[in-house]
């Protein structure tokens, strides 16, 4: 259970509440995207480029079109507006940040697996056969596959007319040269982190059809129903002619943030006027959909003898792959987060994101944070080692505290409990599992992180929710959110139930329909609870006010004295003086008092920061936490066994402790996989790990139990003081793992994943 604060007396908030959606799932009743069929639906397949870099000379679809059972074959020339950008829901247009990509390849192929043509046919087998009958003539080009090489003058140009360098940022604080003069110890290192896959169990999938009014209706696994606008723009129809419905997702992790199957489905439905389904194979998902960015990071950090950090210089290069997508935004997160949760007087960060002919990269849980966390936390441990300090000691001397400013000048006005999370995480590791032996070395590591929740403030983010109470006192919440499986809808049920004094089972939450539920933005950026939780609380509170006012009349007491609970409104001082909620609702209805409220929550809105200095506010708030691990390393083979994992976060206020703990558990392993084993291996743009037999994620036997500790400071900007956990919970684990291995073997691996081969190399044994 969470600890640390005198808890306000909530009835439902902060409890372990089994989620309504979990019952449907455990009985096999949840219809995911792939479990939905429409009578007469066609099956779609995508023809993908076999080359990572090539010119498309010609495409002949004649033979494919003649195959019996084929309804449509589409190429770039059939797409009304083929060049498009990832945009969603922001109310503020921001130049220079457009996530440009093409729906179907034309001119140059920019990565292997790029979509070239679409087929819709009466069966999967026919669609598959038709793909083989599309004749594409390519002129293979040399391509460029290393981001550092790609940014050199004269490098192969990935696109037609733009530079390979998509964008660059700077952060400048103090004078970094002067800062290094104050340092007694300086460490400098280059770190490399790989491309990784989201590895959600549910591949990209959807079904689309034309409804009776001719609206293109798409039911798909997406984190963003507001892509309906972008899809309408591609087709050249008005925004209200495309509707997206998001069923329960089988995991998202950022991989269903960009459009996946939706535009393809819309084009095929538009062309055939028939329902169409499309589900990616696992290989297609790994090869051709967005990944987490590989980075090359040069870090140089200086500290005094006492362990105080005085200067940090970082150069970050991220590999965007073949198209821009969300690379500029991911890079901005890395740039702002490059200095970690530490107070450093002199800072210089330079960052660039670069096009290559690799699979494109875009959003992935942590959005640029895990990469820089690994580099920064490795530097802290190296400094500690040289100074003879413990990893905890050096961190304690440098943690940012409430009221301190980041290198970007932004002052942390809300609670910052990083030091407490580190103390608690390390303490929870307990006694070492055993002494090291000549071949089995035991080591421990920690890593801390500061990760934003909520979207960038210059996007002027908003969310809406509609809360209504029915004539029998039951409650409905309507919110255009996407439930990626973290308990998003369930958390809104809990919030409405708390505010309106009903049990959670009295609340039904309707989500994820761009035409029927109030638009609530994306389920990304760890923003859902913060944004839609606040909107739901606001709407429920407005309904509560109407009800309490009416109850005060009925009971003849001051509304201030009234409380809600157990489906009643009662006098807090005299609980016997009570009226049933149902009676109050009926009385309101009879008097024409609205029994619903639709509320909008606006995040703080700022203008763009200064990209030459990095100064300004980019995020609404941050979540702070520490992960600690104990490992044993076999120095003969390099094999590592993780013995203990602790994840400690200031969660602000847990809404559902089961769900919050779930995020800490799952996040820790998502991050550990990054540290220990995960890598999309590419050879000149060709993915060598296109299945879960090659692309390994942690299985139940690879990892120990995770111990979770939740601190509740109440200091978040979410509902009831909650902070966001979805992304923050995965960020430090890879760094903590690398630090634990380094502690065990007395040498450092500077590239992720920290594999047995790399460990033996670091030991000079390979």
């Amino acid at each position: 259970m969470p600890e640390n604060r005198t808890r306000p007396a909530y009835r439902i908030i902060g409890k372990a509440a089994p989620r309504p959606d979990a019952w449907a799932k455990v009985f096999g009743d949840t219809a995911y995207a792939h479990d939905y069929t429409v009578p007469g639906m066609l099956c779609a397949k995508v023809l993908r480029s076999r080359h990572p870099a090539a010119r498309v000379l010609s495409i002949d679809t004649g033979d494919a079109e003649k195959l019996p059972g084929v309804d449509a074959v589409l190429t770039a020339k059939d797409v009304p507006n083929n060049e498009t950008a990832t945009r969603f829901g922001q109310t503020h247009q921001v130049g220079g940040f457009e996530g440009l990509y093409r729906v179907l390849a034309e001119k140059k192929i920019r990565f292997k697996g790029e979509a070239v043509a679409l087929v819709a046919a009466t069966s999967e087998a026919v669609a598959e056969e038709a793909l083989g009958l599309i004749h594409v003539e390519y002129e293979p080009l040399e391509g460029v596959f290393d981001p550092v090489e790609a940014k050199q003058a004269g490098a192969y140009q990935v696109g037609e007319d733009e530079s390979n360098v998509i964008c660059s940022y700077k952060v400048r604080k103090g004078d970094v040269e002067e800062g290094f003069k104050l340092a007694d110890v300086v460490v400098e290192q280059t770190y490399r982190v790989p491309m990784v896959d989201h590895a959600y169990l549910e591949p990209e999938s959807g079904v689309a059809w034309l409804d009776q009014d001719g609206v293109i209706t798409i039911r798909s696994a997406t984190q963003v129903i507001e892509h309906f606008r972008g899809i309408a723009d591609v087709l050249g129809v008005s925004h209200n002619r495309v509707r997206i419905i998001a069923p329960m997702l089988g995991g998202g992790f950022g991989g269903k943030e960009d459009i996946t199957v939706e535009t393809y489905l819309a084009l095929l439905v538009w062309k055939t006027r028939k329902p169409v389904s499309l589900t990616y194979t696992r290989e297609e998902s790994i090869r051709s959909h967005g990944k987490r960015h590989p980075y090359v990071m040069r870090y140089k950090t200086g500290a005094t003898k006492a362990g105080k950090l005085v200067a940090l210089e970082a150069e970050l290069t991220s590999d965007a792959g073949g198209y821009v997508y969300l690379s500029p935004w991911v890079l901005l997160y890395s740039t702002v987060g490059a200095t970690g949760p530490y107070d450093i007087p002199h800072v210089k960060v330079d960052s660039e994101t670069v096009l290559t002919n690799n699979t494109f990269s875009s959003a992935n849980r942590g959005f640029g944070a895990p990469q820089v966390c690994f580099a920064c936390e490795s530097q802290l441990d190296e400094l500690a080692k040289q100074l003879g300090l413990s990893p905890l000691e050096i961190r304690r001397k440098n943690y940012l505290r409430t009221g301190d400013a980041l290198a970007t000048g932004r002052v942390l006005e809300h609670s910052v409990e990083t030091e407490q999370t580190a103390d608690r995480a390390l303490e929870a590791l307990g006694e070492p599992s055993g002494p090291s032996s000549p071949t089995e070395r035991i080591g421990r590591g920690i890593a801390s992180s500061m990760t934003s929740y909520g979207r960038m403030t210059f996007l002027h983010d908003t969310s809406r929710a509609l809360v209504s109470i029915e004539m029998d006192g039951s409650v409905s919440v309507r919110c255009g959110l996407q439930d990626v499986g973290g308990g998003q809808a369930s958390s809104l049920a809990q919030i409405a139930a708390e505010v309106l004094g009903v049990p959670m089972e009295d609340v039904t939450v309707y989500v994820g329909d761009s035409a029927l539920t109030p638009l609530a933005g994306t389920t990304t950026a760890t923003r859902l609870l913060y944004m839609s939780g606040n909107a739901t609380k606001k709407a429920a509170t407005a309904v509560r006010h109407s009800l309490v006012k009416k109850a005060a009349d009925l009971l003849d007491v001051d509304p201030e004295e009234l409380a809600m609970g157990d489906r009643q409104i009662y006098s807090a001082g005299d609980p016997d003086r009570a009226v049933a909620l149902e009676r109050v609702v009926k009385a309101c209805a009879a008097d024409g008092i609205p029994l619903y409220d639709v509320a909008q929550f606006n995040a703080p809105a700022r203008e763009l920061i200064d990209f030459q200095t990095g100064q300004g506010q980019v995020f609404p708030d941050f979540t702070f936490g520490t992960q600690a691990m104990e490992v044993s390393v076999d120095i003969e083979t390099g094999a590592v066994k993780v013995l203990k994992i602790v994840s400690c976060y200031d969660v602000g206020q847990a809404i559902n402790t089961l769900s919050a703990e779930g995020q800490l558990h799952g996040g820790a392993l998502y991050g550990l996989g990054y540290g220990m084993m995960e890598e999309v291996v590419l050879d000149k743009g060709n993915t060598l790990t296109p299945s879960f037999a090659e692309y390994l994620i942690p299985s139940a036997v690879d990892v120990p139990d995770v111990k979770t500790i939740m601190i509740e400071s109440g200091g978040g900007v979410g509902p009831f003081g909650a902070k966001g956990l979805g992304e923050p919970s995965c960020v430090p684990a890879a760094a903590a793992f690398a630090n634990a291995v380094s502690d065990a073997i007395g040498a450092r691996v500077c590239d992720l994943p920290v594999t047995p081969e790399r460990i033996l190399k670091a030991l000079g044994r390979f």
Partner: protein, 165 residues
């Protein structure tokens, strides 16, 4: 394409399906028998989302030919228990927060069922081994292991009895 009739007993009920020679049990269950609770996560035997119990053994339906199941009994998640008559495993998974996105759940619960039938009293290591063929990306496994451990304890006490009762 030539099809062959097969008879399979799915969750206690005999069903007939016309399948092709190379059709997987996964495709037959989903596409012919509408058993959508059996999930397709990779079609390659790597993820375990399609795990079913075939003749007493947990198998990947995507690595089994439909014709191999002819005349045999299959248990999917819906055969483990229903909302009217839930298995202790199902209640335990919900109560322990062992379900997030839920896409792996049908396979994990079926593997756990097969495990407990073979070994009603597994330790945590045996539980982890028993679900090692089922990938889960959301939960980190700890809550799943706890749910199975608790369901096993519940099973030993007998249906309907709770520790706190």
């Amino acid at each position: 394409m030539t099809t062959y009739p097969i008879d399979i007993k799915v969750n206690g009920e005999w069903k007939r399906a016309e399948v092709t020679a190379r059709e997987t049990l996964l495709d037959a269950l989903r596409n012919r028998l509408r058993a959508f609770e059996v999930k397709d996560g990779c079609s390659q035997g790597d993820c375990g989302a399609c795990t079913v119990i075939l003749a007493g053994r947990a198998v990947n339906a995507c690595l089994t030919l439909a014709v191999q199941a002819n005349g045999k009994e299959i248990t999917t998640l819906k055969g483990v228990g229903t909302s009217e008559n839930p298995d202790p495993l199902q209640k335990s998974f919900v109560e322990h927060g062992a379900i997030q996105c839920g896409f792996c759940t049908p396979g994990v619960v079926v593997s756990a069922k097969a495990l407990l039938e073979a070994n009603p009293n597994p330790n945590r290591e045996e539980i982890r081994e028993g679900i090692s063929g089922n990938l889960c990306r959301c939960t980190g496994y700890t809550q799943i292991v706890e749910a199975i451990e608790d369901a096993a304890a519940h099973g030993r006490r007998g249906v309907g009895e709770r520790e706190d009762a």
